[in-house]
């Protein structure tokens, strides 16, 4: 069977499965066994979602969350990427930072939230810093691994053709490490996403998707919760496919350098 035919069949089966799952959920929700507030029907969720989109609140929450993710992620890349590369190139840097990284990494980023709240208060700063903490490690480690994985043959060939330090770095090492760097970026994004939702639940003061979900619990608004979950899922999925997919396509896939294990 051709690849296209098999793909279309999988898609159909997936759609069928989802429809069946939705139908089962819907029938449980309507059965009356559970309070409508706890298990809202799908139309109720859709209604809540629509309402929040229309009055702009969903958009506002989403933009707060995205702002924090972007800022934290930006910091993580600005710090983690150069540091990781330096660790890969200069043994002294590696020897200094690797023990610190190994000790800090097993600590979940959210464990720091109460401390950060004390130091920086509730709100944006704390949230962004938690995102930064969570996202830096995958970025740093992947950049480090990437630089170390650059095939020495490429370095020798380039050197023989007269590449000096500067061009060697930009024209051989960076492109050579790019599969790892992109994976690091992808994992950093995932981690920031997870961290931001958690941080918002615990530390945000008024806005943000994580906060919405937590707040909705107080008022037993399961429909708002599910609607927000759907939004979170969509944004995450959208980013995955659109941003990272095309980034990969433009670089490593085009160069045939795909890594086998995906984050």
């Amino acid at each position: 069977m051709s690849a296209f035919g098999a793909g279309a069949r999988s898609f159909r089966r997936a759609a069928v499965t989802l429809l069946i799952a939705a139908a089962i959920y819907e029938s449980i929700a309507r059965s009356g066994y559970f309070a409508a507030a706890l298990l809202p029907t799908l139309p109720a969720v859709a209604h809540a979602l629509w309402a929040m989109l229309m009055d702009g609140t969903m958009l506002r929450h989403a933009s707060y969350t995205l702002y924090r993710v972007m800022f934290g992620l930006g910091l993580a890349v600005a710090v983690g990427l150069p540091l990781g590369i330096l660790m890969g190139r200069i043994p002294a840097v590696e020897h200094f930072f690797l023990p610190l990284v190994s000790v800090l990494m097993p600590i979940p980023s959210l464990a720091w939230v109460p401390v950060f709240i004390l130091w920086f208060g509730l709100g944006n700063v704390t949230t962004i810093l938690i995102v930064f903490y969570a996202a830096t490690f995958p970025m740093l480690l992947n950049a480090w691994s990437g630089v170390r994985s650059v095939n020495p043959l490429w370095m020798r060939a380039a050197g023989a053709m007269g590449a000096n330090g500067h061009s060697l770095f930009w024209k051989v090492i960076i492109p050579g490490a790019s599969p790892f760097i992109i994976t690091g970026f992808r994992q950093a994004f995932l981690r920031s996403w997870i961290a931001v939702v958690g941080a918002e639940m615990i530390a945000a003061s008024a806005w943000g998707l994580g906060w919405v979900i937590f707040d909705a619990k107080e008022f037993l608004n399961a429909d708002i919760m599910l609607a927000s979950l759907a939004v979170i899922g969509c944004i995450g999925f959208g980013f995955e496919r659109l941003v990272f997919g095309s980034l990969e396509r433009a670089t490593v896939l085009r160069w045939g350098m795909v890594r086998t294990a995906k984050g």
Binding site: S10, R13, A14, T17, L18, A21, L38, L39, P91, E94, H95, F96, F97, P99, L100, V101, S102, V103, L104, M105, P106, I107, P108, S109, L110, A111, W112, V113, P114, V115, L118, W119, L141, W144, S145, Q187, L190, W193, I194, V196, V197, G198, M201, I202, G210, I213, F214, A216, K217, A222, M225, L226, S228, L229, I232, G233, G236, F237, E240, A261
Partner: protein, 280 residues
Amino acid sequence: MHEDFPTASTRAPALPWLPAGLRDRANWWVVARTAFPFVVVGGLWEIVARMEVFHRRLFPPLEEVASALVRLTAAGILPHHAIETVARLLAGFGLAAAVGVVIGIAMGRSRRAEDIFLPLVSIGAPIPGLAYAPLFMLWFGLGNFSAVLLVAFVSAFPIIVNSWTGVKAVKEIWIRSAQAMGADDRRLFRLVILPGALPYVLTGLRLGLAQAWRILVAVEMLAAVPWGLGWLIFGAREFMNTDVMLAGIAVIGAIGLILENLVFKRLEEYTVVRWGMMTS
């Protein structure tokens, strides 16, 4: 690649708290070199703390953190919290492992299972686990049951995905060789597919454990359960007991490190590393 722990380069030192590193005679230099960054950071910390750049309660000197650690351990408080947390972790992760490996392997073996589970997994996976927490609390209430269920739910995803990938990655040539030598389906599964998929399954379990750990600490902070390290840290905030908080964080880090090294590394070394299927 293990995304949750640095793979040491051939030039990096064996970290001194790993058993293997200590066997080396000429280890003094390596130990000193590894301790050096901590000395530097610790020194900077002490300077900032003692200069009282920030309020002493907010930024305690290390000795206060250490004494809080000792104090709480002696009073039995810290061990109590730690045990609660670890117990929840083991319960949740155990559940996730048992269910996740079974589902993942089923997905790899049966097209039908794959068609059923893959869409559900793909949808659930990109949503951060913690986002489900309030939902679970709403549905199952506060308390241990809800927390364990959430941990199990969230950490199951990487386990399922990796087990599935692992089964599909079993080499065709092993299957053919075994079949040529008379292996029936059952024995093929037990003697070829399971060991063949092991590197991926272990990676999935490792990722699952890291996920479980992260989410458990966060759930405990949401005050969904009584007792627990996350709860301890969050609670200490009210009285600005930063020394207690940092002590708690240190314990969290230590447990994470132990789980990673003592449990997983050993497991891997006994199996997939020994068989040459994965580099250590």
